[in-house]
């Protein structure tokens, strides 16, 4: 391509450039269990000024076996600006994530990001309770890391189908997070038990804020608890995306904001939203 145009486009922005369409290089891409892969890439520094809860839009490779067309949104699982590393924890679901599994060390993966608004931690939120199911934890891993760096006390309640499907719990423990693991196979992950464990946390330890993502069941329960105990919180949501930048308006979901129901773009106004504004669907 013509260098001058590219320089003009990147060199004299009217507004600061915040999202970058760049190639990254795969460092490793391995299954972590039967469903999930961990993908680590080497990325240019400028895209690593990101915050937990933000995401990237990945251009998955085309082959005889897979022909994804749109990009696929993936939360940041880990990022290290110093080492220029970026990682994603993904569930192999369909065309796009299926294609991702074929990426070998050294392959080029074009990414767009960082995108969206991530989690924030208010100054007076000292005791954080993370509640997640399955891969949901991925989105919350960089938050846990950041929260610990900020000296916050973090408890994480993770539920999954089986012990084998429990992800990242070791990583959370390494960070100094108090991890409570619940599984369907142990019969510990039902709503009732989960609820009483959370209420026990509130009663015995105290909770300043809830953090969650994904599951509607969790979202609904946390909203109830939030209302009941007056605890604030944040939730990361998902929605089908095309552009990831806010242009196409395909990723809207309804939210309660100031007593009104409004449509907000998950990619732009989110993916992290105020816990009470979200509407489970």
């Amino acid at each position: 391509m013509q260098k001058k145009t590219l320089q003009a486009a990147l060199g004299h922005p009217e507004t600061a450039l915040t999202a970058f369409e760049v190639p990254t290089t795969v460092l490793s891409n391995k299954p972590v269990n039967a469903e999930y892969h961990l993908l680590v890439v080497s990325a240019p520094e400028e895209i690593l000024a990101c915050t937990p809860g933000q995401f990237f839009n990945l251009l998955c490779p085309v082959s005889d076996a897979h022909s994804p067309y749109l990009r696929r949104p993936m939360s940041i699982y880990g990022f290290d600006r110093h080492k220029r590393r970026l990682s994603f924890l993904y569930k192999v679901a369909g065309e796009g994530t299926g294609a991702l599994t074929a990426l070998k060390r050294g392959a080029i993966l074009p990414v767009l990001g960082p995108l969206g608004h991530g989690y924030s931690i208010k100054d007076d939120w000292q005791k954080l309770l993370i509640v997640a199911r399955g891969v949901g934890l991925a989105t919350l891993a960089p938050l846990a890391q950041y929260a610990r760096q900020q000296g916050r006390q973090v408890t994480a309640i993770c539920s999954a189908r089986s012990q084998a499907a429990l992800l990242s719990t070791d990583y959370f423990r390494q960070l100094g997070v108090n991890v409570i693991a619940l599984t369907d196979e142990d019969g510990t992950s039902d709503t009732q038990n989960l609820r009483s464990i959370i209420e026990k946390q509130i009663a015995e330890n105290g909770v300043d804020a809830f953090y969650t993502c994904g599951s509607n069941r969790l979202l609904a329960m946390l909203q109830e608890l939030s209302r009941h105990y007056g605890i604030e919180g944040q939730v990361a949501l998902e929605q089908q995306m095309a552009c990831g930048l806010g242009m196409c308006q395909c990723c809207v979901r309804p939210f309660n904001r100031d007593g009104e129901q409004v449509q907000l773009r998950v990619c732009r106004e989110g993916p992290v939203f105020d816990l009470m504004e979200a509407i489970p669907c």
């Binding site: 391509m1 013509q2 260098k3 001058k4 145009t5 590219l6 003009a8 486009a9 990147l10 060199g11 004299h12 922005p13 009217e14 507004t15 450039l17 915040t18 999202a19 970058f20 369409e21 251009l59 022909s67 994804p68 067309y69 749109l70 990009r71 065309e95 074009p110 767009l112 929605q239 089908q240 095309a242 552009c243 990831g244 930048l245 806010g246 242009m247 196409c248 308006q249 395909c250 990723c251 809207v252 979901r253 449509q263 732009r268």
Partner: protein, 314 residues
């Protein structure tokens, strides 16, 4: 000197690469300096606030996408107080895309967006016309005439009519738009399509059907751009499946004076930046000094193989 500029019925663009309505917004300024491209075309707006279609609003098909976003709109007020000022920070002209369900409301909105800071008005006549049988204005020549006549009276700004590929009479519609005073044609919008999830047996779009865009659309809209450029004397702006320099050149050679890039920006938001650079490079390499050497240069009288009919050497 390389000249990438084009004159579209009075409106001068620095280069022929611009976004397609609905695939561009202020948000793209996060990725590159928006002054690199030839014009800024807004998402279609309506007078009133509207919330658009139910989700899911997009889905993927083989090498393309379907969308049924609808026209969520913050209304004319927000457009005048936010969108116009935002884009007026740039040199590239602002093209306002508008729509309405009846000719009179369309004309009224057209008048209201004819403000300073709006360089041209693109009328999205692919939307349903509730006064007739609910078919889009651009489906038939007479409904196109009717609405374009009223729009023409409502504004002195350059008026671009955006045609629909769903009609079986695209050249007739193009001629009707020209006669009614359109300054340029955008060819074309998305083509009505459908996809069904075979597991849930539900349509993949909340709206059941939606518009096909992306590479799969290109051969169809290219054909229409060619047909329209042959039929009318006003400039044609090609749109549909453009992602590469070859795509841009194909439309220009077919007779388009400029192009709009839609879905490709979703796949690669830098697409338009690359296209401007590559077009410039192509012209330099091929010693082309002006786009007029490319536009409409299709050798359509030499398409078929001509076997040597006489016996050689006799």
């Amino acid at each position: 000197m390389l000249d990438l500029s084009v004159n579209l019925g009075g409106l001068q663009l620095a280069n022929p690469i611009m976004p397609a309505s609905g695939t561009f917004s202020e948000d793209l300024a996060d990725v590159f300096d928006l002054d690199v491209i030839g014009a800024h075309v807004t998402k279609t707006i309506t007078r009133e606030k509207r919330s658009g279609n139910p989700t899911p609003r997009v889905c993927e098909v083989k090498g393309a996408m379907l969308n049924a976003i609808g026209i969520p709109s913050k209304g004319i007020e927000h457009f005048l107080t936010h969108t116009v000022p935002f884009f007026n920070r740039y040199q590239a002209p602002l093209v306002a895309s508008i729509s309405a369900p009846s000719a009179d409301e369309f004309a009224r909105l057209c008048e209201e967006v004819s403000v300073e800071g709006v360089a041209a008005i693109e009328v999205n006549i692919s939307c349903p016309n509730i006064e007739e049988d609910g078919k889009a204005f651009a489906m038939r020549p007479h409904t196109t005439s009717n609405v374009l006549n009223k729009l023409r009276q409502a504004t002195d700004k350059p008026l671009w009519a955006k045609l629909s590929p769903n009609t079986g009479e695209v050249t007739e519609v193009a001629l009707a738009a020209q006669e009614a005073g359109a300054d340029a044609l955008v060819v074309a919008n998305t083509l009505l399509a459908m996809a069904i999830d075979i597991r849930s047996r539900k349509p993949k779009l909340g709206n059941l059907m939606g518009g096909l865009s992306g590479p799969a659309l290109k051969p169809i809209t290219l054909r229409m751009a060619y047909q329209c450029a042959k039929a009318v004397s006003i400039p044609v702006i090609g749109c549909g499946g453009i992602a590469t320099l070859d795509d841009v050149l194909e439309y220009l050679i077919a007779g388009a004076s400029a192009v709009q890039v839609g879905t490709a920006t979703f796949i690669s938001p830098m697409t338009m930046v690359h296209l401007v650079g590559e077009l410039q490079e192509y012209m330099r390499t091929n010693n082309i000094t002006s786009l007029s050497e490319i536009i409409g240069s299709v050798r359509d009288d030499e398409a078929s193989d001509k076997p040597v009919m006489q016996e050689i050497g006799q």
